[in-house]
């Protein structure tokens, strides 16, 4: 899975490694403390969003800097519907529906823009949406934030529940991205990154491809947002519409390897662990540490870990062949 042109043997080894990892991660909450369960839940959440980003920018080449708006939509719509007494499952599905509809409505005009302009337009939309949430105090609770119902069960059990939910979301997202990328639709997505005009003239409907891809990315992100809201049981607009979340996930995607399946997961693991360490180790310099680490990462592993490993392997293979 790391390198596409591999024999069946290494493919099955990869599958075994992945299966073992999944089983270990499923059993893990029994053996670790609440602190680590929380950390892992956050890693899974970021990995899901980073995977959505990966689909948009790693594979399609569009950088939705304001993509965090769907995270906010997920969290807020869930909060609003649960406040009206709906069950969580219904609320999360409604939130996903709202996010997908929003992404399609915004997608048609905004995805005509390219490069910088697209990135900036999404930032603008995110900001405008945040203002709306802050100002419709009657519905959203305004700038002070709003609460979601707390699950009336022992905290340890609740943490386990969210651990498993976020983990399933990550696995589901990754599998879906994997299958999308290896389908015919996936080739259309990648052709847009390679050369959009050429793709268009080859008969690929680039507009609908882009909008559908954005809607899928919005779906994952909103699911992560819904789970986050229910998990935290308190959300505020400045928090769930924070562009910092987008930036974080972009960095995760970059360090892991943009345009690779496992890259975003690896990246979110590394960044979350590092920033957790930075928080606890030297809190005052935490922002600067994150900034400098980002600069170093971009300088030295621009293709990301998975990409760099693949490069090294390829080089080795070439050497052997020679």
């Amino acid at each position: 899975m790391l390198v596409r042109d591999e024999g069946n043997f290494s493919k099955s080894i990869n599958l075994i490694i992945i299966a073992v990892t999944i089983i270990v991660l499923l059993l893990l909450p029994r053996y670790i403390s609440g602190y680590y369960i929380r950390l892992f839940t956050a890693i899974f959440m970021y990995a899901s969003i980073a995977q959505a980003f990966n689909l948009m920018s790693g594979y399609m080449g569009y950088i939705p800097f304001g993509h965090v708006m769907f995270f906010g939509i997920g969290a807020y719509v869930t909060a609003i519907f649960m406040g009206r007494g709906l069950n969580f499952i219904v609320a999360i599905l409604l939130a996903a529906l709202v996010a997908v509809i929003t992404s399609v409505i915004l997608g048609f005009p905004v995805l005509r823009l390219r490069g910088h302009y697209f990135a900036i337009a999404t930032i603008g939309m995110n900001g405008a949406l945040m203002s709306v949430v802050q100002n419709f105090t009657d519905i959203t609770g305004g700038a002070m934030g709003t609460t979601l119902p707390i699950i009336a069960k022992p905290p340890a059990l609740v943490y386990n529940y969210f651990y498993l939910a976020m983990f399933s979301l990550m696995v589901f997202t990754t599998l879906l991205v994997y299958f999308i990328i290896h389908s015919k639709f996936g080739y259309a997505i990648r052709s847009i990154k390679a050369n959009e005009d050429a793709a268009n003239s080859m008969g690929i409907n680039t507009t609908s491809t882009k909008v559908i891809t954005w809607a899928i990315a919005a779906l994952f992100t909103s699911l992560a947002g819904s789970l986050y809201g229910y998990w935290m049981s308190f959300i505020a607009p400045e928090e769930v519409f924070n562009v910092m979340i987008s930036v974080n996930t972009i960095v995760m995607m970059l360090i892991g390897g943009a345009g690779t399946i496992l890259g975003p997961i690896l990246g979110s693991f590394i960044i979350e662990v590092v920033s957790e360490f930075a928080w606890s180790g030297f809190m005052e310099y935490h922002l600067a540490a994150l900034g400098i680490a980002t600069i170093i990462i971009v300088f030295f592993v621009p293709r990301g870990l998975v990409g760099t490993i693949a490069d090294l392997r390829n080089r080795k293979m070439v050497k052997i062949k020679q």
Binding site: F65, I123, M125, L287, A288, I295
Partner: protein, 287 residues
């Protein structure tokens, strides 16, 4: 009432015009969306604060100091973190400038904390009458300085050798290179000029408003809107964009309520992006 609102809009717009030009030049000519621009503006404010506390010198004089320091900071940042990564495309420049913003924000927080600071000038409260409208003196001085600086930037771009070089690079990179213009040097000077303007804006901002690290978020949102309204890399466009934003915000605050001010600006920006991606003001700038 109407005149007062117009005067307020104009005074605000003057500062916005100056604020937007540096960002617009960096984006339009050097091709870098500088997400650390807000942090650089706020840094300019704090530099003026230091000088004011130590020497009691007005921000209107210490702005030269802020500008100079920020010029060198910009040159340094460009040379050592942006120039090597230009080929990597926009993800890298966005991420790098955001990382620089984090570092600057951290430095500001460590040195000055997150509290709001103000520079209290002795004549801060004085104002004069213009027909029925009251004009605060500090805002008026700021407006005049901003206009002069916008004009000076324009003169620099049009009449000096370096300015013409920058224009040539913006017009046609390969062509400029072929006739012997040092392209990277022009990008560097242009970027540093943009950060210098950010620093000066910060000093002027400090003479009117209070400031804190949080202000950098407000500023980055505004410069995006200004640059896009005016068209990238276009000095007069950015100036007009600044004035327009000033008018939009002031009238928005009057008619819709001030809580919608930010959303209004963003909605205008997205609308302009969708329908006139080259800005409201006339044609696309060079290239």
């Amino acid at each position: 009432m109407g005149l007062q609102m117009f005067v307020n809009a104009l005074l605000l717009g003057g500062l916005y015009a100056l604020m937007g030009i540096g960002f617009s030049l960096q984006w339009g000519i050097s091709g870098i969306i500088n997400l650390s621009y807000g942090a650089m503006v706020v840094l300019g404010s704090y530099l003026s604060l230091i000088i004011f506390n130590l020497l009691r010198i007005d921000p209107f004089i210490s702005m030269f100091f802020s500008g100079a320091i920020l010029f060198f900071l910009g040159a340094f940042v460009y040379r050592f973190s942006l120039q090597p990564l230009l080929k990597g495309g926009i993800v890298f420049t966005l991420i790098i400038t955001f990382a620089i913003r984090l570092v600057l924000e951290n430095i500001i927080l460590l040195v000055w904390s997150a509290d709001y600071r103000t520079i209290r000038l002795t004549y801060a409260g004085s104002n004069f009458r213009f027909f029925e409208a009251f004009i605060p003196l500090t805002k008026f001085i700021t407006f005049i300085i901003a206009l002069i600086l916008v004009y000076l930037t324009y003169l620099f771009m049009m009449n000096t050798k370096v300015g013409k070089g920058i224009q040539a690079v913006a017009l046609d990179k390969e062509g400029a290179e072929a006739v012997g213009v040092d392209v990277q040097k022009m990008y560097l000077i242009n970027f540093a000029l943009g950060t210098a303007l950010a620093g000066i804006t910060g000093s002027l901002w400090a003479s009117i408003y209070s400031f804190s690290p949080h202000v950098m978020n407000v500023i980055i949102g505004k410069v995006f809107i200004i640059a896009i309204l005016g068209g990238l890399g276009n000095i007069w466009g950015a100036a007009a964009g600044g004035l327009l934003l000033g008018i939009a915000e002031t009238s928005g605050a009057t008619f819709l309520g001030s809580q919608w001010q930010e959303a209004l600006g963003l909605v205008i920006m997205v609308t302009v992006l969708l329908f006139r991606p080259h800005g409201l003001i006339g044609k696309k700038f060079f290239g």
